[in-house]
Symmetry: C2
Subunit: 394 residues, 2 copies
Amino acid sequence: MRNFEYYTPTRILFGKDTHLQTGALLKEQGCRKVLIHYGSESAVRSGLLDEIRANLTEAGIDFVTLGGVVPNPRLSLVRQGIELCRKEQVDFILAVGGGSVIDSCKAIGYGTANPWTDVWNFFLKTETPKACIPVGVILTIAASGSEMSNSCVITNEDGWLKRGCIKSDLCRPRFAILNPRLTYTLPQYQTESGCVDILMHTMERYFVNTETMEITDSISESLMQTVIYNARILMKEPGNYNARAEIMWAGSLSHNGLTGCGTAGGDWACHQLEHELGGLFDVAHGAGLAAVWGSWARYVYQENPERFAQFATNVFDIPCYTDFEKTALAGIEAMEDFFRSIEMPTSLSELGLSLTDEQIHELAFKCSFEDTRTIGTIRQLTMKDMEKIYLMAR
Amino acid sequence: MRNFEYYTPTRILFGKDTHLQTGALLKEQGCRKVLIHYGSESAVRSGLLDEIRANLTEAGIDFVTLGGVVPNPRLSLVRQGIELCRKEQVDFILAVGGGSVIDSCKAIGYGTANPWTDVWNFFLKTETPKACIPVGVILTIAASGSEMSNSCVITNEDGWLKRGCIKSDLCRPRFAILNPRLTYTLPQYQTESGCVDILMHTMERYFVNTETMEITDSISESLMQTVIYNARILMKEPGNYNARAEIMWAGSLSHNGLTGCGTAGGDWACHQLEHELGGLFDVAHGAGLAAVWGSWARYVYQENPERFAQFATNVFDIPCYTDFEKTALAGIEAMEDFFRSIEMPTSLSELGLSLTDEQIHELAFKCSFEDTRTIGTIRQLTMKDMEKIYLMAR
């Protein structure tokens, strides 16, 4: 069993009408001027932004706003945000949205608080941030877990590179408001894509080659079962409050570190494989993960068939055959069946991409940082391995 | 499903040799002078205190020490600690021990930081603390969960009143070092008593009459199964690192709020019933809880037999009969069987107490604050109910 560190200082307010406590929370944080950062106009149309503005005004808190965050959030908007924060002397950044908005906020926070270097260096990992403007979250999409995490991912349009920042507690949100009702208006595809993302944050930590902790394993398996069960409910009943709530809380727990305690960091190869898809083709993150996961799993499961068999048995109630490999494969199939049942892709073509051999080669070339790194831990994948997995997933 | 708040800012360092990071952690916290607070001489004899002193000296951190904390920690020592902290201008309190030591530290922290009133008022709940000297923990007993919790319990020798402080985030430890090896030397009775305490922190939150969250339920059930399984292992193999680790991490997760998300606060009647035993007779907390739980459960289960049946089925794999009451009772029996298997009492006489009717009446009188309050939520218990449960448990 590996040593681990666990640190989740984000204050969670969960439930109906909790977003109306934003002003009070910001006051508690002692902030003077807030940047309200958001994505599409849906936050405007739904009236949510107006509610928040009124709430802040009532609490006597000054603010500026910046919208326009897109999925796979862009570095150019981050730069705009940094400029705005400096000009307006913003001391707190409030994300109103999902993972893209939160990540954009974290990047703006880093850029504003570290004027001594360019923010993209933190994503190239050539520099380490020393500070970050505090971030708070009003979550409207259950998916990324960024509301409690120490990471963020930004896409640089110059070369369409999607890169994760150096992980640091500096960017962990001070608070996150989780009102399941704010996710009702999300299109079904986004909702279900979010469910895959949530599952994958636990699965990336779960599929390892090292000894794990029983308690972490069974919490992870519980979480996966909860997400699978409720993701299916939301296909038929998008307005089911309880199902939305289960998914939303699972989203935060899946990426706050809890499901990784004692699992020595996890694998994360699928996330890396998807990042290149997201950077080049702007696919929904969860859908991209669903499209590559089965191929990745079939490529690597023989490194630890017992682990994949445990997954099959404890998450999908598949009888554990004497033959671990058979059980493992049944579990992989069950997960793909689940993806299909919530209309998520299990291949790149189902994701809407028909890629040439050259394009697949380019994906692997970029994912391996031009053949200079491997990804994954259950099996270390070279550029050649990545290319094979993309081909299997085609 | 009820709204909830979740806030667990304590940084956890888990695993072998983690206590050697104490100096570095204290430096990070910017502290200048630490009170090292501990209990029995076992921390001295084992060499742990010497290791910590050396570690702090190496980090250039000044310290004073105060030992002598006993189970059901006393107000008189708290007062001594407050005086020492004021005299020595201590700005950080380091607990080296289990729940009693941590709670004593929290109370000293409150008393030192609030010179405007007497510290016992926070336990009488007539005053609210405004600040607390920061507390850090090196845990040597897995049981109380106080290392991540917002509560503390102190016994006032004047009247032998055992009372919990007003719950406040102010006293949540800044960090907790969880090295399972530091629990090896604990007597078996203490180890198993700790396992009951851990179980009960989840069970108190689990047995409610309100709608709950699936994800919280299944995390709670996972945690209970992990503790039951590993508590049995530790009966035979007290030096089993993995079993110690599972129990230790379960102890923190059981009382940091995770197993209460969406369960509207929980019941806590058993804790109140045990507090009077602990205050008057100085019994081990977990053993006291084991001694009353079965009687409490039989007294209240008809208020929500479905919930007790779910417990029976999901924690003890008892087939769910059509008759919920039958299933519920089988679950209560299974838990008592488990208590017996780890040599924990299931009655007050097994706990070593042979009480007269007058003594039982006195317990109920004190537990009901002289017949002025009820306890519990699954069924609100009056003084008469408390008396009946104590009698059933006799």
